[in-house]
């Protein structure tokens, strides 16, 4: 879900310190400072944090494109190309397709070394940025690309009312210094720059949003739904869903390989099926044993494991809210624990009983 920052109340997006802007080329750009709170023990930005960043930048772009309609994130795919270490991580989103009922967005994510690099980009040097709408200009900048993401947003008709992202009432801090001479209502609502500022985390982000782990080996973790982690429609923010799925998979796969610290998340594929409104939202993990171990062919490489993570709303009759597949890589050849393969068809059967709305 694209986010409306939580008015004046403290919100985890503020503590992440997301800020960004719209540029003249049609892109939306968002960035965060990398710090120990949003990194793993290896000093790499968490996949869930990257997913949050791209969800925000995609949502802000979608909000502007669709105004006065609103939208909900239907799916999000994140591929981590190499570890993100900062010092600044920047996501640049562009529209792939705008349809009547959906909007498809892709985003590239970069490690940015310094402010000057970003300013050079932001000033609108078309030859220095890529812009997916003009592929011939891609990748001419020097920053290091760390991830790629795509998202589909479902369009929610406003019925004539303004969407909840209206910057005048949402608590988004916007800068409208360039409004002079512009007549577009969209331009007025969506200032060229925006920020979500808070005091920051003094604990790891997973602790900060309130994720608790009850069964590491089983990948059972949960998070409460409250104002701090809600989105604009009062449900658990999609980025927190990603953090929860990441934590659950990391714990389960880590327990299986016996070296949790060496488990790296490489892919997140998230399908948002229903809003998580009540909570707690709880994860359940099914590990998927890869074939990279002990086979003559080295495809996939040793240590490539995947996990299916279901996120259920315990307070809403255990409703299935989100299905996530998580790709991981570990630097050990240790075998996975007994995989859940045999139960997966049964698992789908169980989803059958809970998933249709």
């Amino acid at each position: 879900m694209a986010e409306r920052p939580p008015g004046r109340a403290r919100h985890f997006l503020g503590d992440l310190g997301v800020d960004g802007q719209y540029d003249r080329e049609g892109l939306c750009i968002a960035r965060i400072q990398v710090n120990t709170a949003n990194c793993t023990a290896r000093g790499e930005v968490r996949a869930g944090v990257l997913a949050t960043l791209v969800d925000v930048v995609g949502g802000m772009l979608a909000a502007r494109e669709l105004y006065p309609d609103w939208m909900a994130t239907a799916d999000l795919a994140l591929r981590i190309i190499r570890p993100a270490r900062g010092p600044v991580v920047e996501a640049r989103a562009s529209v792939l397709r705008r349809g009547r009922t959906t909007l498809v967005v892709e985003a590239d994510v970069y490690d940015v070394d310094d402010v000057d690099d970003r300013n050079q980009y932001v000033r609108g040097d078309a030859n220095a940025c890529h812009g997916h709408g003009a592929e011939s200009t891609r990748s001419r900048h020097s920053e290091r690309r760390v991830a790629w993401a795509s998202m589909t947003f479902a369009v929610l008709a406003s019925g004539g009312a303004e969407g909840p992202v209206d910057g005048r009432s949402s608590g988004i801090d916007t800068s409208d210094s360039e409004h002079a001479g512009r007549t577009s209502l969209t331009d007025h609502v969506f200032g060229r720059t925006w920020s979500m500022n808070g005091p920051g985390f003094d604990v790891p982000v997973t602790d900060g949003v309130g994720i608790t782990i009850s069964d590491p080996a089983g990948g059972v973790a949960s998070v409460e739904v409250n104002e701090y982690v809600q989105n604009s429609v009062g449900a658990l923010q999609g980025g927190v869903m990603a953090l929860l799925a990441e934590t659950a998979a990391e714990q389960a796969v880590g327990s299986a390989v016996g070296r949790e610290a060496e488990v790296m998340i490489t892919d997140l594929q998230m399908a948002y099926l229903a809003l998580g409104r009540i909570g707690p939202i709880e994860s359940r993990v099914t590990e998927l044993e890869g074939d990279g171990i002990g086979v003559e062919c080295r495809c996939p490489p040793s240590g490539r494991q995947s996990a299916l993570v279901e996120l259920h709303d315990r307070g809403d009759d255990d409703r299935l809210t989100t299905v996530v597949t998580v790709g991981t890589s570990s630097s050990t050849n240790a075998s996975m624990a007994e995989p859940g393969d045999a139960g997966l068809v049964t698992e789908l059967g169980r989803l059958r009983n809970t998933g249709v709305s």
């Binding site: 239907a74 799916d75 795919a77 591929r79 190309i81 190499r82 792939l96 397709r97 009922t101 959906t102 498809v104 892709e106 997916h132 592929e135 891609r138 990748s139 690309r145 790629w148 795509s150 589909t152 479902a154 892919d267 594929q269 399908a271 099926l273 229903a274 998927l288 044993e289 890869g290 074939d291 086979v295 062919c297 080295r298 495809c299 996939p300 490489p301 490539r304 995947s306 299916l308 299935l320 299905v323 597949t325 790709g327 995989p339 393969d341 045999a342 997966l344 068809v345 789908l348 059967g349 989803l351 059958r352 998933g355 249709v356 709305s357």
Partner: protein, 293 residues
């Protein structure tokens, strides 16, 4: 429900192939059957499929190519979604595939189930297991379909669905030939649309774009890693995300790849697919993980 126009197509070896009755799902010899519905009207549609793993359709990793696998997934998942919204029908808008195993024994069994049925979209999960390897999970795919506005009064199905596995082709051809993918190398790969690749509405089958993304990404990876380790000479594709942005009717489709980067045995490749005959419009975008073998 699928129709095709009789025609022949010349292969690279000059042999004429009778593609008149060979549809995309038939090429992969996809058997399909539906779990009989109970009296519960809210019970979601469930479909199963089975496809053999044949050597001419395998990657260097020893299993069905990911593009071929996703072609079968699109057939099964799309039918599942469509049956769940009758008398309307659907189009696939995206697939997110986690490929767990690239080496398969076969046959592969596909199980498709509706996760969410909304007014405007249907989300389907498809699990693929290897019957020849103790039902080990091969892939898990989540696909989203948009519900079409128009009611399809010409759609009639005998329920539960049951479609036998087509017989083996005595003169099998590789997927690149069947799908009209031009020979080549490097970051740009073309597919020529012929009638047997269309669905009943004249639109290019989603499996064809999946196969194109697979072939194009591998060629791009080979070009990118030229001169490096030998195992990059014939890589295979793993996790894949495809967004179907516009229907393709004219072609040719040109896949333009960008190697985004990677580490060790894997590369991430972005594939932008453009329809040259319709103003170069972007019809699909894929992100493909390419793995050294």
């Amino acid at each position: 429900m699928t129709t095709s126009t009789p025609q022949t197509q010349r292969t690279e070896t000059g042999r004429h192939l009778p593609f008149s009755s060979v549809r995309v799902s038939d090429y992969f010899r996809l058997e399909r059957w539906e779990l009989p519905a109970s009296n519960d009207v809210d019970e979601p549609v469930q479909l199963f499929g089975r496809m053999p793993v044949e050597s001419h359709q395998c990657s260097q990793a020893g299993g069905m190519t990911t593009g071929g696998l996703l072609s079968g997934v699109d057939s099964i998942g799309g039918m599942t979604a469509g049956l769940s919204v009758l008398p309307r029908w659907i189009v696939t808008t995206n697939m997110m595939a986690t490929i767990v195993r690239l080496s398969n024994v076969g046959p592969l069994r596909l199980h498709s189930i509706v996760l969410r049925r909304g007014r405007r979209s249907v989300v389907v999960a498809v699990e693929v297991v290897d019957e020849g390897d103790h039902d080990a999970t091969v892939a898990l795919v989540t696909m989203t379909c948009a519900v079409l506005d128009a009611v399809r009064r010409d759609l009639h199905f005998e329920r539960p669905i049951g479609i036998d596995m087509p017989p083996p082709d005595p003169h099998p051809v590789v997927p690149e030939v069947f799908f009209g993918i031009e020979p080549g190398s490097g970051p740009v790969t073309r597919l020529v649309i012929t009638d047997h690749l269309r669905n009943p509405w004249g639109i290019l089958h989603g499996g064809a774009l999946a196969l194109l993304a697979d072939v194009a990404a591998r060629r791009a990876a080979v070009a990118d890693r030229k001169g490096s380790e030998a195992r990059w000479a014939r890589p295979a594709c793993g996790d894949t995300v495809i967004h179907y942005l516009q229907p393709s009717r004219v072609g040719p489709i040109e896949a333009r790849c960008e190697v985004l980067g990677g580490q060790g045995d894997r590369l991430a490749v972005r594939v932008g697919m453009h329809e040259l005959g319709l103003g170069d419009r972007l019809v699909g975008v894929a992100s493909v993980q390419v793995l050294a073998c």
